[in-house]
């Protein structure tokens, strides 16, 4: 291989008074921020939708199922364009919102459909008796969910939730399409400016791997801390 490496590229000035490495680090920050906020949106809506898919009321269940099908069957990129180009055009109140917020919601709602599916599966994997015991104790339905069902369900779905948390880091890369200055946009633009694509891409790829690994470790730690002795997944 006669390739001439030039790692100095990261120390070059971008022309804006900062070096490429600084730009890359701030891009990493954007990637993590978009993913983290999207994750919060996804957990909130995913839990809500997952729960209403298991309640006795049929209209609520249908609403929950429709939500999941809608956000699962349209590509994330198309959803981002809808949030960015279509919704502000149709809803004047949304016009002033920065694209960053729109992307967070796009990513969050997209991911919420997958989390809703996991929450539903987690709830339905619990023995019926748990809910019945809760109700027999005189808990209301929301109380039974809050104190009996959900604490168990969340623990059960931690492993799939871990892979979803790693997915959202990867999926946040699609934000480049609406000019969020995250890692992929950094990679594309600095590749063009410096023509040192291989070094730049290696840097970005390494950051993605590091991030995914960190998320994985954090989730594994949580999993270990909250596990219920003698119950599902407690082995190992």
């Amino acid at each position: 291989m006669g390739y001439q490496w030039d790692w100095q590229v990261f120390l070059q000035d971008t022309g804006g008074g900062e070096r490429y490495i600084d730009w890359m680090m701030s891009a990493w920050g954007w990637t993590v921020t978009v993913a983290a906020l999207g994750w919060v949106v996804a957990i909130v809506f995913g839990s809500l939708v997952g729960v209403i898919r298991t309640v006795p009321s049929a209209p609520l269940r249908i609403l929950g199922n429709a939500w999941v099908e809608l956000f699962r069957n349209i590509p994330l990129l198309v959803q981002i364009f809808i949030w960015y180009h279509v919704i502000p055009a149709l809803v004047p109140a949304m016009k002033g919102l920065p694209s960053f917020i729109l992307v967070v919601f796009a990513l969050g709602f997209f991911t919420s459909s997958r989390i809703a599916e996991q929450v539903r599966a987690g709830i339905q994997s619990l023995p019926r008796g748990q809910m019945q015991a809760g109700l027999a104790m005189g808990l209301t339905l929301p109380q039974a969910y809050r104190h009996v069902i959900l604490p168990m369900a969340y623990r059960i779905i931690l492993p799939p939730l871990t892979s979803e948390s790693m997915n959202i880091i990867k999926n946040s890369s699609v934000a480049f399409a609406v000019s969020i200055s995250e890692l992929i946009l950094f990679a594309m633009q600095s590749q063009e400016e410096t023509s040192r694509g291989i070094e730049i891409y290696l840097g970005v790829t390494a950051l993605y791997i590091v991030t995914a690994f960190a998320v994985n470790r954090v989730m594994a730690f949580i999993e270990k801390r909250v596990r219920v002795p003698g119950y599902v997944g407690a082995a190992k």
Binding site: E69, L70, R72, N73, I74, P75, L76, L77, V78, Q79, F81, I82, H85, V86, A89, L90, V91, M166, I169, K170, N171, S173, V174, F176, A177, I184, A187, M188, Q191, G197, I198, Y201, V204, T205, Y208, I209, A212, F213
Partner: protein, 222 residues
């Protein structure tokens, strides 16, 4: 609420802008599906071979690709292919290569689960019959693994079809690009993005309904 104008969705314009894009998206999906399942099965066999020399590269390949975003892989291939081949390659060809090697990582995990789900007795029965490793795989294990995993493989293919929209990163002309170009040319971006979402939804939703039905059918027979 600004008024929407659907008059641009004529047969003529759809054929001119959108159909070429749709054809490419479908082609890309099919090529990556067949190529990906083939390469993925090979990788799965390597990982289950019990030979370190085969296991390790397969694991690095699969875990490596699964931990970086598809867009990153799209950019990598588009950057590296011309350097390796010594001549520029088109966006479309680059996309075919990218999606095949990327999806292989995901299909390989599915095939691995499929192979592992086959009861040990089946493997042993094959061996007792005097089948070689290859024969056993070809006639006993893989057909069953493939069949058991068919719904999951197809679900992955639906995800793959959605992911083809990411060729946006290198500007290849796919279904989304078709709608986008139509919208830009006629100043009707809002309508064309909505139409794109609708088309993707209809395709993916109907396919996943078919897969669900198939799943029930397979589940009953087994």
């Amino acid at each position: 609420m600004s008024s929407l104008d659907y008059s641009i969705f004529t047969w003529e314009l759809m054929r001119g802008f959108v159909m070429t894009g749709l054809a490419f998206s479908v082609q890309l999906t099919l090529v990556a599906m067949f190529g990906g399942i083939l390469l993925g099965t090979l990788l799965a066999l390597m990982r289950l071979s019990g030979l370190k020399l085969l296991e390790l590269p397969a694991r690095i390949y699969v875990d490596g690709l699964r931990s970086i975003p598809l867009v990153m892989v799209i950019l990598w291939v588009y950057l590296l292919m011309p350097l390796i081949l010594g001549r520029p390659i088109g966006k479309e060809l680059s996309a075919f290569v990218t999606f095949t090697i990327f999806e292989a990582a995901y299909y390989s995990e599915i095939m691995r689960a499929g192979i592992q789900s086959i009861p040990r007795g089946q493997v042993q029965a094959g061996q007792a019959m005097g089948l070689t490793y290859g024969q056993n795989m070809r006639h006993v294990i893989l057909p069953q693994a493939f069949r058991n995993m068919l719904p999951v493989l197809l679900t992955q293919t639906i995800v793959l079809f959605q992911d083809t929209s990411l060729v946006y990163a290198i500007g290849a002309y796919d279904l989304l690009h078709g709608f986008e170009t139509l919208g830009k040319n006629y100043g009707r971006s809002v309508e064309t993005y909505l139409a794109a979402a609708l088309v993707y939804f209809v395709i993916c939703f109907s396919l996943s309904t078919v897969v669900k039905r198939l799943q029930r059918k397979i589940a009953i027979i087994r």
